[in-house]
C-alpha cells in the first residue's frame, strides 16, 4: 500500500505543473507589452518633458522651464472647455450610434436567408475605408451643393439646397459618419457571438411563447453584453482621439463648431508650434480618456465580469 502511494507521488512529481491562467496571459502578453513600452514610453516621456517647458523654434531652438504654468493655463483657456464639451457630445453620440447600428446590422445579418448571406462580406466594406477617406466622402455627402440632402429635396421637386454640415448639428452629422465607419466591425463581432447561442434556447423561448422582444431581451442579448461592453470602451477611446476624420470633413468647422479637443490640440501644437502648452493639454485628454474608461469599467465592466 505504502509502495503504491509513493509510486503515485513519484509519477506526480515527474509531470510538469500546470501554469496558472494569469501566468499564461503574462507570457503571451510580455512581448507585446515590451514593444508597446518602447514605442509609447519615449514619446510619452518626451511629451511630459515638453509640457513643463516653453518651446521656441524661431531665432534658434530653445526650451525654457516653466514648471506647471502650462497645466495651469489649460484651466483658464476657454477653447479647452469648449472643445472638451464638443468631444463629450461627439463621443456619446458616436458610441450610441455605433453600438445601436452594429447591433441592428448583426441581427439583420444573422437572419439573412441563405441566398443573401454573401451580403455579410459586403457589409464590412465601410470599416475598410480609412477615416481620412470617410471624412472626404461625408464632406461631399453633407455639403448643400453636392450632398444627399439636396439630392433628396430635388427628388421631391424642390430647388432648395440642404446643407448637413451646419453649425447646429455638425457634431451629430460627424457622429453618423464615425458610426458608419465603425459599426460594421461591431456587427461582425456581435454576429459571431450570436451564432454561438444554442438554437435550443430559441426553441425553449418559443415553447414559453415569448414575444420577439422578450426573446431578444432574455435569449439574444445576455451573451452579447460583455462584447458590447468591450466595444463601448473601444469606441469611446477611438471617438475621443478622432482627428483625421474630423480634419478632412470639417476642419473643425463650420467656424469652430466641430473643434473637438484633438483639433484644438492640433492647432496649438502644429499651427502655433506651442509644443509645451500643446503637450500639457494633451495630458488632460489622456486623463479624460482614462477616467471615462475607468468609470465604464467600475459601473459596468466589473458587473459583466462577475456574471
Amino acid at each position: 500500500m505504502a509502495d503504491n502511494v509513493s509510486s503515485k507521488r513519484a509519477a506526480g512529481a515527474q509531470r510538469p505543473a500546470e501554469i496558472s491562467t494569469f501566468s499564461f496571459a503574462l507570457i503571451v502578453s510580455i512581448p507585446v507589452l515590451l514593444f508597446l513600452l518602447i514605442v509609447v514610453a519615449y514619446p510619452l516621456a518626451y511629451a511630459f518633458y515638453l509640457s513643463f517647458n516653453e518651446i521656441r523654434f524661431f531665432g534658434g531652438y530653445s526650451a525654457d522651464w516653466v514648471g506647471f504654468q502650462n497645466y495651469a493655463k489649460v484651466f483658464y483657456d476657454q477653447s479647452f472647455w469648449s472643445s472638451l464639451s464638443k468631444t463629450f457630445r461627439f463621443t456619446i453620440e458616436t458610441v450610441i450610434l455605433t453600438l445601436g447600428v452594429g447591433l441592428g446590422l448583426a441581427l439583420i445579418l444573422k437572419h439573412l436567408p441563405g441566398k443573401w448571406r454573401w451580403l455579410r462580406a459586403l457589409i464590412i466594406l465601410p470599416w475598410a475605408v480609412s477615416p481620412y477617406g470617410a471624412g472626404i466622402f461625408f464632406a461631399y455627402l453633407g455639403r448643400g451643393q453636392t450632398g444627399v440632402g439636396t439630392a433628396v429635396a430635388a427628388m421631391f421637386g424642390s430647388s432648395q439646397t440642404i446643407n448637413l454640415i451646419s453649425a447646429r448639428f455638425v457634431i451629430e452629422y460627424l457622429a453618423v459618419g464615425a458610426a458608419w465607419n465603425m459599426a460594421p466591425l461591431v456587427a461582425f463581432f456581435l454576429l459571431a457571438n450570436m451564432l454561438t447561442t444554442p438554437q435550443r434556447l430559441y426553441d425553449l423561448a418559443k415553447i414559453d411563447r415569448m414575444s420577439r422582444l422578450e426573446t431578444f431581451w432574455h435569449v439574444t442579448l445576455p451573451p452579447l453584453r460583455f462584447t458590447i461592453f468591450v466595444f463601448t470602451c473601444i469606441t469611446t477611446v477611438l471617438a475621443m482621439k478622432t482627428f483625421d476624420y474630423i480634419f478632412t470633413e470639417t476642419q473643425g468647422g463650420p467656424g469652430g463648431a466641430s473643434s473637438v479637443l484633438t483639433y484644438t490640440l492640433y492647432k496649438i501644437s502644429f499651427v502655433n508650434l506651442d509644443l509645451g502648452y500643446g503637450a500639457a493639454m494633451s495630458f488632460f485628454l489622456l486623463a479624460v480618456i482614462l477616467v471615462s474608461t475607468g468609470i465604464l469599467y467600475f459601473l459596468w465592466g466589473r458587473k459583466e465580469e462577475r456574471q
Binding site: 451643393q145 453636392t146 463650420p254 467656424g255 502644429f270
Partner: protein, 457 residues
C-alpha cells in the same frame, strides 16, 4: 615658324583669319547649349526631394520628368495632402528628406525665421534673377534684403468675378457694375430685390486662405492696412476700413443671402459653387477666369464671366507662391549644388535660356509669373486673351493685376500663420455668434501686439 606663314600674302592672311574666326564663333555657338546643359547636370548621384501641394500634378510631374530625362537627374516629386503649411513646417523641423518645396510668402518668411531655408540669393545667377522680377513682387518675397525663392506663380486672389448673364437679365447694365466694396454690397441687395436668391458668394470658406484673407483684402481694398509693413504694429480701426468691412459682413450674414455651407467649403467647393451659376458676384482667383470661361469645365457660366474694374479701387490681394530651397542638415555639398541647379532650371530658365516652366503654367492655367519677360511677351497676351469672356477683358485683367496690394505687415513676419488661424476662428465666431464689431477689431489689434511681444518684434 613655317615658310608658308611667312610667305602669306594679305589676301591669304585675311582669308585664313576669317576662316579661323568663323570656326571659333561656330564652335562657341555650338557649345553654348551644351555649356548650359552642363550647368544643370547633377553630379552628386543623390536624390533631390521636391514636394508641393496638389495642383496640376500632371504638369509638375511632366516638367520633372523632362529635367530628369534631359540631365539624367534624380528628382523625386510627390504631393502633400492636408494642412500643407503645417505639414511642411513639421518636415523642416524634423530635418526630413526635403530639398525643394512650394511655399506662400508668409510660410517662406516663417520657415526662414526657423533657419530652414537656403535663400535664392545663394544661387550663382541670383542678381540676374532678381533683376528680371517685378520690383513689388521681389520686395514681397525678400526678407533682410535676401530673395527667398523663385517664382512659381503670382495671382490676384479676391478680384471680383461677375457672372454677367443673370446680372444683365435682372435689368442692370455694364455701366452700373460696382466700382468699390460699398457699391458692391448695395448691388447685392438690389439684385436680391429683383428676385436673385443668392447674388453674392463671399470669400468666407474654411481654408487657411479663406475667410481671413477675405477680411485682409477687403480692408486693404478700402484703403487700410492690418499692420504696419515695417514695424508690424497693428493698424485696424473701428471707424476705418476694418470696422466698415465687419459692419458690411454682419449685415450681409444677417440678411440670410449667404448659405452657411460656404463656411465648410474647401477651395474646390468654393470654385464649384461659383461655376454652378447660382451666384452673380464672387471674389475669386484671377486665373480661375480661364476655368469659368471654359465650356468643358464650367458649362453653366462659360463665356459669361468677367471682372469688375479696378479703376476706382483695387480688388483682392497678391496671392503668390515660390519654389523654396531648404537648408537641411547633413546634406552633402554636391547635393546642395544639384538642388540649386534643379531650382534654377525649374524656377527660372532652362538649358535653352527659356522660361519653359513659367510659360507652360501661363498657357495651361493662366498662372502669372513674377518675371517681366514672361508677362510682357506676345505669347502671354495670346494665352490670357483666349481664356477670357472677350479679348478686351485682357486690359482689365492687367489693370486689376497691376493694382493688387500685398499685406506685407502681416505676411512678412514670423507670426503670420498663427495670426491667420486666429483671425479665421475669430471671424467665424463674429458671424456665427454675432460678436461686437468694436470688440473684434480691438481683439485683433491686441493679438498682433501679443504676437509681436512673444516674438520680440
Amino acid at each position: 615658324m613655317s615658310n608658308d606663314f611667312l610667305n602669306m600674302n594679305r589676301r591669304g592672311f585675311l582669308r585664313n583669319t576669317a576662316l579661323l574666326s568663323a570656326t571659333a564663333l561656330t564652335s562657341s555657338l555650338a557649345a553654348l547649349p551644351f555649356a548650359h546643359a552642363a550647368d544643370f547636370k547633377p553630379t552628386s548621384g543623390e536624390t533631390v526631394y521636391f514636394r508641393g501641394w496638389q495642383f496640376r500634378t500632371d504638369v509638375v510631374q511632366g516638367n520633372v520628368d523632362t529635367y530628369n530625362k534631359t540631365f539624367d537627374g534624380k528628382v523625386d516629386y510627390a504631393t502633400v495632402t492636408g494642412d500643407y503649411p503645417a505639414i511642411m513646417e513639421k518636415a523642416l523641423i524634423a530635418n526630413e528628406a526635403l530639398d525643394v518645396l512650394y511655399a506662400n510668402p508668409s510660410s517662406a518668411v516663417r520657415y526662414s525665421g526657423g533657419g530652414w531655408v537656403l535663400p535664392a540669393s545663394e544661387l550663382p545667377n541670383a542678381q540676374e534673377i532678381a533683376d528680371g522680377m517685378y520690383p513689388n513682387i521681389r520686395d514681397a518675397w525678400s526678407i533682410d534684403g535676401k530673395l527667398l525663392g523663385l517664382s512659381y506663380f503670382v495671382s490676384t486672389r479676391g478680384c471680383l468675378h461677375v457672372f454677367t448673364k443673370p446680372y444683365l437679365e435682372a435689368g442692370f447694365t455694364e455701366d452700373q457694375l460696382p466700382a468699390n466694396w460699398d457699391a458692391l454690397y448695395e448691388m447685392v441687395y438690389a439684385l436680391h430685390e429683383k428676385g436673385v436668391a443668392t447674388p453674392y458668394l463671399p470669400h468666407w470658406f474654411g481654408e487657411y486662405f479663406g475667410i481671413s484673407w477675405g477680411f485682409v483684402f477687403e480692408v486693404m481694398n478700402r484703403g487700410g492696412q492690418v499692420a504696419d509693413p515695417q514695424t508690424h504694429k497693428p493698424l485696424l480701426t473701428v471707424d476705418g476700413p476694418a470696422g466698415k468691412t465687419l459692419e458690411a459682413w454682419k449685415k450681409l450674414w444677417k440678411s440670410g443671402l449667404v448659405p452657411e455651407e460656404v463656411f465648410s467649403y474647401n477651395e474646390a467647393g468654393y470654385i464649384d459653387a461659383f461655376r454652378s451659376g447660382r451666384y452673380i458676384f464672387s471674389p475669386q482667383q484671377i486665373y480661375d477666369l480661364k476655368t469659368f470661361n471654359d465650356k468643358a469645365q464650367s458649362g453653366d457660366v462659360a463665356g459669361h464671366v468677367s471682372l469688375l474694374s479696378a479703376k476706382e479701387q483695387s480688388w483682392g490681394l497678391i496671392d503668390s507662391a515660390l519654389y523654396l530651397m531648404t537648408s537641411r542638415k547633413g546634406r552633402s555639398e554636391a547635393l546642395t549644388e544639384d538642388v540649386k541647379k534643379f531650382v534654377s532650371w525649374y524656377g527660372y530658365k532652362d538649358e535653352k535660356g527659356e522660361f519653359a516652366v513659367a510659360n507652360r503654367w501661363l498657357k495651361e492655367n493662366m498662372l502669372f509669373s513674377a518675371y517681366k519677360s514672361v508677362m510682357e511677351s506676345d505669347e502671354a497676351r495670346t494665352a490670357v486673351s483666349t481664356s477670357l469672356m472677350r479679348p478686351e477683358d485682357y486690359d482689365r485683367v492687367l489693370e486689376v493685376y497691376s493694382k493688387t496690394p500685398y499685406p506685407k505687415g502681416i505676411w512678412n513676419v514670423v507670426w503670420s500663420e498663427e495670426f491667420n488661424f486666429w483671425l479665421r476662428d475669430k471671424l467665424f465666431a463674429f458671424l456665427q455668434q454675432d460678436l461686437d464689431v468694436e470688440g473684434v477689431v480691438n481683439e485683433a489689434n491686441a493679438k498682433i501686439e501679443e504676437l509681436n511681444a512673444r516674438y520680440k518684434i
